[in-house]
Symmetry: C2
DNA sequence: TAACGTTAATTGAGTGACCAATCAAGAACA
DNA sequence: TGTTCTTGATTGGTCACTCAATTAACGTTA
């Protein structure tokens, strides 16, 4: 049933499936066959479009990064410095970015950066951008914007980690409260 | 060269090798052959003593947990509440517990808890114990000991994560400073 | 518009590599 | 002699990746 223009649709389906499967398994140890099956196609087709499993993972990582970056950018404009700060933090816990599978996949892609230099590059870019966004937003609010930014970044990662590890439904509100309370203390 | 009493020595060597290899690879995706080779023996012997790869991982996880718990206990006695708090935090960044490979292995064993219920059990016990240790130590120092304990726990995990991801030598001092500065702010 | 060649989409059936786990057997000690 | 230690060889299974073949859409041209 070959309809033309299947490529972007198939690729998107594979990326979603990869995020879901990695998130579900809690590790990168998922087979191309699993991903392809969830995306509703044969493993051969997945290889046809992406060439290798690593390329699927990298595309998924880029997708998550892009989605996150977009939701930060959407939330930024037209507020004071404190508003910008809030926006960044809130974006980290917004529903699109805080599904259990997404967060779990995200953490597992961290691990990919040990093996793949492409993944390491993506991650470094993301980290630097988040850090400089935070530092800019913190200027004038904190006495040591850089230290506060580093603490805040680490805290967000840690909360992600614990969210994934805690069984049951993810509680975005609790996570957000933890981080915002820290900010409240740090900026007063 | 069969000398008697090799079992504990061989097991210890395998546990060390497993931590090192998992830490180095940044994932649980290491073969029994790799672990055995680093420990200076054949893969068959590793299976002989541990039965399965999962058992090797679990033993390594227990070892890390025991070492950490011991260094906390060593540092606890004979101080005020604030001293106890410091002791717990400092133990987390003490040299035995803060080698890059150890921290990396530790984070990867987190992931094991998705797959292995034994690993999940170990992890839950550790988390509860750390949390209650922190809450007790925070009583009288913080207005909301539980919230502070959760934030502190997440922050430590996050700092671990970032330490592993940052290339170059691990900087225990910087990590410690980040966490202690947070405490300073939170308790004032 | 009908016939035809080109290209995209799709998969079943491999292939080769790797790996966890087993086993039988040898070697050294008590 | 029996027990512990040790390993080479083997097995069964899994998986990433390839290939050849099929099907259907599209463009072209007579």
């Amino acid at each position: 049933m070959p309809k033309l223009g299947a490529e972007p649709i198939r690729k998107a389906a594979l990326i979603n499936a990869a995020i879901f499967e990695v998130g579900r398994a809690g590790s990168l140890d998922v087979t191309v066959a699993q991903i392809a099956r969830r995306a509703g196609m044969s493993p051969a087709l997945a290889h046809h479009y992406f060439g290798s499993k690593e390329q699927i993972f990298l595309a998924a990582m880029r997708y998550i990064l892009r989605t996150y970056g977009q939701s930060v950018r959407d939330a930024l404009p037209g507020r004071g410095p404190r508003g910008r700060l809030d926006a960044i933090v809130r974006a980290s816990f917004a529903p699109q970015n805080f599904q259990r599978e997404t967060v779990s996949a995200w953490l597992n892609f961290y691990a990919l950066s040990f093996v793949s230099s492409d993944a390491a590059r993506l991650l470094r870019i993301y980290h630097c951008r988040l850090r400089s966004n935070l530092i800019v937003a913190l200027r004038g609010l904190s006495d040591h914007p850089e230290q506060t930014a580093d603490t805040l970044g680490a805290l967000i990662d840690g909360v992600y980690l614990r969210t994934v590890l805690t069984p049951g439904p993810t509680d975005a509100d609790a996570a957000l409260t933890t981080v915002l309370s820290y900010l409240e203390e740090a900026l007063s």
